[in-house]
C-alpha cells in the first residue's frame, strides 16, 4: 500500500491558493509538491493533479484563457486523457473549462460583485473519485471567493450533463452566489476523472476555519490517488 500518493499542485503566475491546497492535501495524507507552470513534465509517480485557485495571468482576456497554454498544461491534458485524476479549484476550474477538459464556461458573477463567504452545497453524486467520501444529497458548507463563478452551458449541454450524472455539486436552494445555470457549483467530464468546482475545499479542512467539509472532497481524491498508485505498482 502506498503511504502517501503524489498529488502535485500546479503554480501559475497569479495562483494564490497553491500552498493552502498543498497543505490540505499533505494533512490528508498526500505528498503534494508544487509544480511550476513552465515545467514540461509532471513529477514521477504523479497519481493526481490539482490546479489551484487564484488569478493566473491576471485573469487577462478571460479567466483561465492564458494559463491553459502553459507548458505544464500539455502534460496535464495528456495525463487527463490517459484517465489521470485532475481537480480544478476556482481558477483551476476556469482553466479546465478554457482548456476544453471540462464542459461549460465561467462568466462574471450575475451580481458583478466579488463573493467571499461560506456557502451551503449539496452533493449530487458520490459516484466520482472526488466525492466518494460523501453521500448523494449530503449538505456541505464550503467557502467561495470569486468574481467569475457564473457557470454557463446552453440547454442542450446542460441536459446532457444532467442526464450523464456529471453535475456533482450544486449550491443549496436559494444560496447560489453567482447566478450559475442550474445552481451548479461543480461538474466532471464524461469519464469522471476530471472535476472542477468554484468552492474552495482547501479552505475547509480545519475546525478553526469553521468547516471541515472540504476534507471530504480532498480526502476522496487522496483515497482515489492512493488506489490508482497502488494499481500501478
Amino acid at each position: 500500500m502506498i503511504e502517501r500518493p503524489r498529488i502535485p499542485v500546479v503554480v501559475f503566475p497569479g495562483s494564490n491558493d497553491d500552498r493552502d491546497a498543498a497543505l490540505a492535501l499533505e494533512r490528508l495524507g498526500a505528498d503534494a509538491p508544487l509544480v511550476w507552470h513552465t515545467d514540461d513534465t509532471l513529477p514521477a509517480g504523479t497519481a493526481a493533479v490539482v490546479l489551484p485557485g487564484g488569478f493566473s495571468y491576471g485573469d487577462y482576456l478571460r479567466c483561465g484563457a492564458i494559463a491553459r497554454f502553459s507548458p505544464i498544461m500539455r502534460e496535464v491534458a495528456a495525463f487527463a486523457d490517459g484517465g489521470g485524476l485532475v481537480l480544478g479549484i476556482c481558477n483551476g476550474f476556469q482553466i479546465l473549462t478554457e482548456a476544453g477538459l471540462l464542459p461549460g464556461a465561467l462568466r462574471p458573477n450575475a451580481s458583478l460583485s466579488f463573493v467571499c463567504r461560506d456557502v451551503p452545497l449539496v452533493v449530487e453524486s458520490s459516484a466520482t473519485p472526488f466525492t466518494a467520501r460523501c453521500e448523494a444529497g449530503q449538505p456541505l458548507t464550503i467557502p467561495v471567493k470569486h468574481g467569475d463563478g457564473c457557470w454557463f452551458a446552453d440547454e442542450e449541454l446542460l441536459a446532457a450533463l444532467e442526464h450523464n450524472g456529471q453535475v456533482v455539486l450544486r449550491y443549496g436552494a436559494g444560496a447560489n452566489p453567482n447566478g450559475s445555470i442550474g445552481d451548479i457549483a461543480g461538474v466532471t467530464n464524461t469519464d469522471r476523472n476530471v472535476f472542477g468546482l468554484m468552492p474552495h475545499p482547501e479552505h475547509a479542512v480545519d475546525p478553526l476555519l469553521g468547516s471541515t467539509d472540504g476534507a471530504l472532497l480532498l480526502g476522496s481524491l487522496v483515497d482515489a490517488a492512493r488506489l490508482s498508485t497502488a494499481a500501478l505498482v
Binding site: A105, S111, G179
Partner: protein, 81 residues
C-alpha cells in the same frame, strides 16, 4: 495590415456588465432598451494579404480571442486608432 476583432457575448448569454451599463444610461436620462458589453482587440498583422489575414484572425479567435461557447466575433479591416 491592421485589423480589429470585435468580441460579443452571444445572444441569450447573461451579460451583467451590459445590464449595469444599461441601468446607468437610464439613470442619466437616456432612453435605452438594451446594452451589451464586449471586447475589442486591435491586431497588427505581418501579412498584407486580406484573405490570409482573415484566415489567421479566425484561427486566433477560435484558439484564444474568444470562447466559442459564450462569445461571437466579427473581423473588421481599416478601422481602429
Amino acid at each position: 495590415m491592421r485589423a480589429t476583432v470585435l468580441v460579443r457575448p452571444k445572444p441569450g448569454i447573461l451579460d451583467p456588465q451590459g445590464q449595469a451599463v444599461e441601468s446607468s444610461l437610464r439613470h442619466l436620462g437616456f432612453e435605452v432598451a438594451d446594452a451589451r458589453v464586449g471586447r475589442l482587440v486591435d491586431v497588427e498583422l505581418a501579412t498584407d494579404d486580406r484573405d490570409e489575414a482573415t484566415a489567421q484572425l479566425e484561427r486566433m479567435c477560435e484558439q484564444l480571442l474568444t470562447n466559442p461557447l459564450i462569445e461571437s466575433y466579427e473581423i473588421a479591416f481599416g478601422g481602429g486608432a
